[in-house]
């Protein structure tokens, strides 16, 4: 499928989702679907850096919260509408991703990972000390009860998140099939070899870090209006990070569809389990699934499907198997 056709296809899926949401009478389902779509964006964004380039970001929470709080603050200050807040949050978080990447990604990948993990603590420190957005007391976000065209505000938020999800998936798929994406895959397979073959390694990594961070920030921008009350402890919940890591790894990291599968499966499961059991237990299940999948099914559900359909992956033809072989070689 060409990119143009895929965009058309993705938009149709989006329109179908929004249309379906209009007919749902119980608003809870739209809330739940928003949650799942938000994770489609986060997981896809994570995968652009984690799956395509092989740099693990444990700072999803930080990026999401920067998007969330910048939107809340700008809305309080200038009363900007969400469609204006989303690109601002995206640019801001893209810049944070770029700076983090520039400072740490030049070294071993694991330093980037640790720095992103520490970033959440630092951003939380700043937000807790920032009185304008309520500090640790939190901040109420007022939203109009009615919006034109969509009727309820929840339907409007759902529409915005659908647009973001479609945009994120289309971006990820376009990257995967572009020269840029091949460059990223080359870095993932063997960074030294890629650099030797003329791939501008640092530049590509930084662009990927910026896109990934920017998308996470955009997903955070509508969140204060979804929650109507924001405060640091829940905004910096590790659940966002663990989910955005678990979803691509459970779904499969080498293709755009993997994070989508993971987000839909794990997101729906968590929504169901939050209602049926408790939210702590469902997070425990996500953690367990993450550990089980990385051990038992390292290529996720996609890998399971592929190995069932075909024969044993051959390093000569299968880029995934080739990746495993080169990773093994470089580790020795």
């Amino acid at each position: 499928m060409s990119n143009g056709r895929f965009i058309l296809f993705a938009c149709l899926v989006g329109v179908a989702l929004v249309a379906a949401s209009m007919f749902v009478t119980n608003e809870y389902y739209v809330f739940a679907a928003y949650f799942v779509l938000q994770y489609v964006v986060l997981a896809t964004a994570w995968n652009i850096l984690g799956g395509y380039v092989g740099y693990v970001n444990f700072g999803t929470t930080a990026f999401l919260a920067i998007g969330l709080y910048s939107a809340a603050a700008l809305n309080k200050w200038l009363d900007l509408p969400i469609p204006a807040l989303i690109p601002i949050a995206g640019v801001l978080c893209g810049a944070v991703g770029l700076v983090m990447g520039y400072l740490t990604i030049r070294l071993r990948g694991v330093y980037f990972t640790i720095a992103t993990l520490a970033l959440s603590v630092v951003v939380q420190t700043f937000i807790t000390n920032w009185d304008y957005v309520g500090g640790s007391r939190g901040l109420y976000v007022m939203r109009p009860s009615e919006v034109p065209v969509f009727g309820s505000y929840v339907a409007y938020l759902f529409f915005l998140m659908t647009v973001l999800a479609v945009a994120a998936v289309v971006t990820a798929r376009a990257i995967e099939r572009s020269t840029f994406g091949f460059g990223l895959a080359a870095i993932r397979d063997d960074e030294t070899a890629a650099a030797a073959s003329g791939v501008p390694v640092l530049r590509l990594k930084l662009v990927a870090a910026a896109i990934s961070g920017g998308l996470m920030g955009m997903a955070g921008a509508p969140l204060p209006f979804y929650l109507t009350y924001v405060e640091p402890t829940s905004s910096f919940s590790l659940a966002y990070t663990v989910n955005s890591v678990a979803m691509p790894l459970v779904g499969g990291t080498t293709s755009w569809i993997g994070p989508v599968i993971g987000a839909v499966l794990l997101g729906t499961m968590q929504q169901a389990m939050t209602v049926l059991i408790s939210s702590s237990v469902n997070l425990l299940v996500v953690g367990l699934l993450l550990v089980i999948f990385v051990i038992a099914a390292p290529n996720g559900i996609l890998g399971l499907i592929r190995s069932k359909g075909g024969k044993k992956p051959d390093p000569e033809t299968n880029p995934l198997a080739a990746m495993l072989v080169t990773e093994k070689r470089s580790s020795q």
Binding site: Y111, L117, A118, N129, G287, L290
Partner: protein, 292 residues
Amino acid sequence: MGQFAGLLLDSIVSGVLVGGFYAAMAVGISIAFGMLGISNIAHPALILLGSFIAYVLNSQFGWDPILVGVLATVPFYFLGTLLYSAYEIAFERRGTQLIRGLAFFFGLLFITEVGLQLVFGVDYRLVETPYIGPSYNIGPVSLPVRMLIPFLASVLLLIGLQVFFMRTFTGRAIMAVAQDKFALQLMGAAPVRVKRIAFGLSTATAAMAGAFLIILQPVEPSMGRDYIGRIFAICVLGGIGSLPGTFVAAVIVGVAESITATFYGPSWSPAIAFGFLLIALVVRPAGLFGRA
């Protein structure tokens, strides 16, 4: 002495004491990450597990937390060897430790944290011992015993480990596996076995650090992640795999945090370690005591 100088001196002393304790928390990472190249980000969660074991045995049977910490090193050692075996089979052998290995430890961190939350709730827990209350005062400087004991115990732990690494065959083999796995094989030592012992040791230190932590302050299950940045900052700053470096870096971070807390307010101190981490990574990734 002016009031400012007194405050400064007091915050430096308490920074040194807390820093010594940070060294006990960081030494496990120094071994696992620095010597073995295993990014065990679940270490802080294991420290919290150690704290809660000390809490349970202290509140149920009145055992001393330090004693519990020392006893718990045995099960923690075996837990560590088990974890390493799983890690080795699932990731190192396949060569996927970079992404999936990290995700594995992250999942472990999360499971431990949520598991502790399910069992103990989100309330702060503390231990009761005679030495938690009192405090010595020398001029403007106060020396709370609850900080003095973890500091001294941490120093002993680090000295013990350093002697082990320098003087024993196994200790030297662990240092060697960090440098050249292949050469170690030629010397007749099995790298996987050596690494398993080292990782067990690294995990065992978490039991003691956990006991020190709960003496120093009340604990709550999700506290561990606040320490991740701090611990790795200390390891990187100290120079990967160097125990004296880890100690010096821990004291530097402890003093910097304590001064910040005294003069700017404690809510800012978590950002300090991150600043150190970034500066260390940008300016000198080899750390203060590392080989460049």
